[in-house]
């Protein structure tokens, strides 16, 4: 139009970004002056350029990892919600009753409302509790925890605890254990920081947590774990072991040999389980059990491997069958 040269968006981009040389600048300006539509176009491009000046930087997000997180949570509510579904009201009531009965004997529960923080310490027994934000905690024996739930959700931990964090994107949930800081965005995970152990460990059951120690930062997803070495001050990523106990009664087995599974169950449930055939010990179990009874767990295992369970008068179990 008006005999002015045609201008490409490349040329305009060079012009607005200051990359144009004198010759190109003259061409663009001449083009803009030739027609109001051109001038309008140039000004629109200048606006677009200006507005993008203070755009924030979105890190190169990993769509696959993000999708995995969504997927984990899709399943969590639709199929994996067993923890909540089983007996939502009763699950934590018993410990209150138990606390009242055996308080002086086994453990002490201290709740300091005045200071806005709550303290718990477990000596011999596991403590189950629900924090003010509805997050659930299973505090292992010989552990202490201080929780401050308000504008922020901050936990200080000595020993070991398993957390099911209530989702609230506006209030980060953090756990301090020695030099290690764990930041959570709605998830289930465990932190072990016993004074007697050489390491601090973080294991993630589902969701996403961030672990920081000495300027090193690791993002952990479901099935990940991290270890912080107290002596070398190094934080490293690890895979979860094949059998994991979350809290005190949530078990997760991933290709775990039955010999190991049996040992776990014996310790956790205080029972004796015998294998009539050592070949059963080589069967590999992949299963999750959320607060199930030992009878039910052994029933599931029996169904899985086509074996039978026998319980004698003294409560001892025997697994009979061919093995795998």
């Amino acid at each position: 139009m008006n005999g002015a040269p045609h201008i490409t968006s490349e040329q305009i981009a060079a012009y607005v970004s200051g990359e144009a040389d004198a010759a190109l600048r003259a061409v663009v300006e001449q083009w803009a002056a030739a027609d109001t539509a051109n001038a309008k176009e140039l000004e629109a491009m200048q606006h677009a350029w200006q507005w993008s000046a203070d755009a924030s930087i979105l890190p190169e997000v990993d769509g696959d990892a993000a999708w995995q997180k969504v997927q984990a949570r899709m399943e969590e509510k639709t199929s994996g919600g067993r923890v909540v579904r089983m007996r939502p009201m009763q699950r934590f009531a018993p410990w209150l009753a138990a606390a009242a009965v055996v308080a002086g004997l086994f453990f002490a529960v201290r709740i300091l409302l005045v200071s806005g923080t709550q303290d718990w310490s477990a000596t011999a027994q596991v403590i189950h509790t629900v924090l003010k934000d509805r997050s659930r905690v299973v505090l292992s024996p010989n552990s202490e925890m201080t929780a401050s739930i308000g504008h922020k959700r901050s936990i200080t931990l000595k020993g070991q605890a398993y957390f099911e964090v209530a989702r609230d994107t506006t209030k980060p949930f953090t756990v301090h254990a020695e030099d290690v800081l764990v930041t959570v965005l709605g998830t289930g995970f465990e932190v072990s920081a016993y004074d007697t152990s050489a390491t601090v460990q973080v294991k993630v059951r589902h969701g996403h947590v961030r672990v920081q120690a000495n300027d090193v930062e690791l993002d952990l997803l479901a099935g990940d774990a991290a270890t912080y070495d107290r002596a070398t001050h190094r934080l490293t990523r690890m895979a979860l072991p094949s059998s994991v106990v979350w809290g005190d009664r949530i078990l997760q087995f991933e290709e775990a040999p039955m010999s190991e599974v049996v040992q776990r169950l014996e310790t956790l449930y205080g029972v004796r389980i015998e294998l009539s055939n050592s070949a059963i010990g080589t069967c590999r179990l992949t299963a999750d059990f959320d607060n199930e009874s030992i009878d039910r767990i052994l029933g599931v295992i029996a169904d899985t491997f086509g074996i039978t369970v026998q319980k004698d008068a003294s409560g001892h179990y025997t697994l009979n069958g061919d093995g795998c």
Binding site: S9, E19, T36, K69, M74
Partner: protein
């Protein structure tokens, strides 16, 4: 159309939808929240909810505009919560009338700009950022990425054109009146 399989329980359809829009939606949320983690969280949460409520899903607009509107609402909620949560000792100034609204418009615009940038193809976005936000010269970008200067020029042109087109409705009225004035002036001249 894209939603029917999701409503019917096809998780793969959700995955496609997620991967197609994740980054632009995060960018959009980032424009509001200025916090990349929170932005990602809000978008992920939306898809989780979309899945959980899939049976009651009824969307009258396009899927894309539904997603952006949903993210926008979630961001505004999060911002409202943040505002309410402001500690008491923080200085609270009474904004003069209209200032809030102006601020809202700026936030809205930042979100739109951000969404358009994040929707650019990866390489083009990278080049645009290097030029726009890192202040690098074309030849520096070309060198860094092992491309020709011509390619950088070309990608920058395309990026800017996309921004201009996608944000057309935000171009200020001043521009129109200025154009009009020019046109009248031109007509008389």
């Amino acid at each position: 159309m894209e939603l029917a399989p999701i409503a019917a329980g096809d998780a793969q359809a959700l995955e496609h939808l997620f991967k197609a829009h994740y980054r632009p939606l995060c960018g959009f949320a980032l424009g509001y929240l200025k916090d990349a983690d929170q932005a990602e969280d809000i978008v992920q949460e939306l898809f989780v909810r979309l899945w959980q409520d899939r049976e009651g899903l009824s969307i009258t607009t396009s899927v894309k505009s539904y997603l952006f509107t949903a993210v926008r609402n979630r961001c505004l909620n999060a911002l409202a919560v943040k505002k309410r949560m402001r500690p008491l000792d923080e200085e609270v100034h009474d904004a003069p009338m209209g200032e809030d609204r102006e601020e809202d418009e700026l936030t809205e615009r930042a979100a739109r700009v951000q969404a358009v940038i994040e929707a650019l193809p990866t390489e083009r976005r990278k080049i645009f950022r290097m030029s726009r936000n890192e202040g690098m010269k074309y030849h520096e970008i070309a060198e860094r990425l092992g491309l020709s200067v011509k390619t950088v020029e070309n990608q920058m042109g395309k990026a800017l054109k996309t921004l201009r087109e996608e944000l057309a409705d935000l171009m200020p009225l001043m521009l129109l009146s200025w154009a009009l004035w020019n046109w009248i002036g031109g007509g008389w001249g």
